[in-house]
Amino acid sequence: MRLERRAQTSRRALLLAPVGAVLLTLALTSLLVAWAGAPIARAYLLLIEGGFGSRFAITETLTRATPLILTGLSAAVAFRARLYNIGAEGQLYAGALAAVAVGGLHGGEGLALSAWLLFPLMIAAAMLAGALLLLGPALLKSRFGVDEVVTTLLLNFIVLLAVSALLDGAMKDPGAMGWPQSVALKDELQLSRLLSRSRVHTGLLAALVLSVALWALLRFTTLGFEIRAVGSGPRAAAFAGMPVTAVGVKVALLSGALAGLAGAVEVAGRTGYVTLDMSPGYGMSGVVIAMLAMLNPLAVVAAAIFVAGMLVGADSMSRAVAVPTYIADVIVAIALICMLVATLLTQYRIRR
C-alpha cells in the first residue's frame, strides 16, 4: 500500500471530508453506546435533540460554542504557521485572571474609571496576558530550539496552580464562604444578553466577527501570506527573504491573545468571576476544533458549534439513558482522528 499525491483537490472532496468523518465517527461510537446498554437510535436522537433540538438546546450550544470558537481560532492561526500552541487552556485562565484584575471589585471598589474606559482596558489586559504567556515558548523555540508543544503543555499546569494560589490568596472573594473563587467583575462590565431567556451573550458576535477578520487576515494581508508561507515550509520562506522569527512572534502574540480573550469573554459573559473549573478543557478542544475545520477560520465556527452541541447534548442524553457524558469526549477524539484521515484522503489517494 502506498499513497499517491492527487494532482488537485476537488471542492466537492473538501466538503465531503468533514461529513464523512462525522458519520464514520458516529458509526464507531455507536458500538460504545451499545456497550453501555442503551438503544443506539434513541441515544443518538437524544444527543442531537439535546444539542440542537429546541430553543433552549440551541442557545446553550451557542453559549458553549463562544469560547470554543475563540480557542479554535487561536489554535488555527498558530497551526497555520506550524507553531503548535497546546497552551490555550493556560492562556485562557491568564486572560480571565487579567480581566478580573482590571475589572474586578477589589474590596468592593475596583478601578475608579468609567465603564467606557475600563471595558477596553479589561479586554486589552486579557489579550496581553494570553499573548505574553505564549511569547515565552515561542521565543524559546526560535532562540533555543525548544519544542513548543512540551513547554506550552507544561505551562498549562503551572498556570492552573498559579490560578489556584491566587484564588486562595490575593484574588479570593472574601464573600464566597470559603469557595475558591475570585472577586466578581463589576456589573457594568458584564456582557449583555443577545437573546432574552437564554445565556447567549454578545461575546458570540465578537467571536463571529473575529473569525471573519482572521480569515481575511490570512487571505488578503501580507502577514497572512507570510504565515501561510512559513507554515508550508519555514526554510523556503526564509530563503525567500521572509522574517521567519518575526512572523513566529506575531503569530504567537495573535494566538495567545485570542485564547486570553476567550477567558475574558467567559468571565464577562457567563461566570462573572474566575473559578478553577470555569474551563472544562476549552484549550484542548480548541486544537480539535481547528483540526476539524482544516485550519480554516470560517470553518472553525461550524466545528465549534458541532463540538459544543455534542457536549451539551451528551449532558442531556446521559440524564435520559445510561450513557456516561464522557461519550462526548470520545466522539470528539474519534472525530479528530477520522478528520485527519479524511483530510489526507483529499490530498492523496491510496494505491496498492
Binding site: 460504545l32 512540551v150 513547554t151 464522557y326 470520545v330 477524539a333
Partner: protein
Amino acid sequence: MSEALDLVASLPFWVAVLRIATPLILGTLGVLLCERAGVLNLGIEGIMVAGAFAGWVAVYQGAGLWTGVAVAAATGAAFGVLHAALTVSLGLSQHVSGLGITLLATSLSSYAYRVSFPKVDRPPTIKPFAPMADLGLPVLNAQTPLTLLALLLVPLMAWVLMRTPLGLAWRMVGENPAAAEGQGLNVVALRYGAIACGSALMGVAGAFLTLSAFNAFYFNMVNGRGWVCVALVVFASWRPGKALLGALLFAFFDALQLRLQQADGGLLGLSLPYQLYLMLPYLMAIVALVLVARRASYPQALMKPYRKGER
C-alpha cells in the same frame, strides 16, 4: 533549612524519590524508543491513563497482578499501533496524531470506568503489589517489583539500542530512513515495532500508578507525568542511562517539594502558598529543556514522515 537537610539525608526520602521516579523511568524509556525510531509519541499522557485503567480493571476482575501489567502493556501497544498507522502508514502530523491518541485514550478510559462503575461514591480498590521486603537492600526493599523492573529495563534498553542489530536498525530508521531502506530494512515494520513496544512501556508506567503506588483508579491520576517524560527524553539526549538520571533528578525535586510543603514554615521560614511547591517540578522540566536544547542532537528523521520515493 537544616530541617530540610535532615529530610534529604533520611531513608524514607529516598524511598519516595525512587517510587516517584518509577513511572517516569518507564514512560521516558517508552518515549525514547519511539523517538529513536523517528516518531514523536505525544499519546503518552493518554496511554498512561489507559494503562492505569486497563491494568487495574483486569486485577479488579480477578486477574493476577502480573496479568494486569500485561493487560496494561497490551493496551498501550494497541494505542501505539493506532499511532503508527496514522503517522507511519499515513504520514500524518505526529504532533496532532499524538494529541488525538491522548484525547482518545483518556476519554475512552473515563467512559469505560463510568460504564463499569455507574454509581460508586468512592473508587473501588484492589490489593496492590507488596514491597520486596526480603530483598535485603536498603531503599529498594521498600519498593515493589515494578520499580525493580523499571530499573532493569534501563540497561536492557541501552543494550538493545546500542549493541544489537535490532537496535542499530531502529536507530537507523530514526536517523536516515532512506539509507535504511537501501540496506534492505523495512522502515515501516521497524517503526511500527518501536512505537508498539514504546507504547507498551507507557501502558506499564500507567499501571504502576494503579497497581503499586495506589490501589484505585482516579481520573486525573497521571496529571502531566506523560508530558514530563517527553521533556525528560530531550534532557537525556535520547540515552537510556541519562533518562534514568533525569527521572531520578525530577523525582528528587518532586519529593523535596512534598516534604517542604509539610515542613513547618516551609523553605527558609517563608510561608509560601503550597501551589508554588507543586509548580516546582514542572518549572524544572522547562528549565532542563532550555539548558540542554542548544546541544540536543535530535534523531535526524524525528517528526519527518517517510514515504518511499518521495523527498
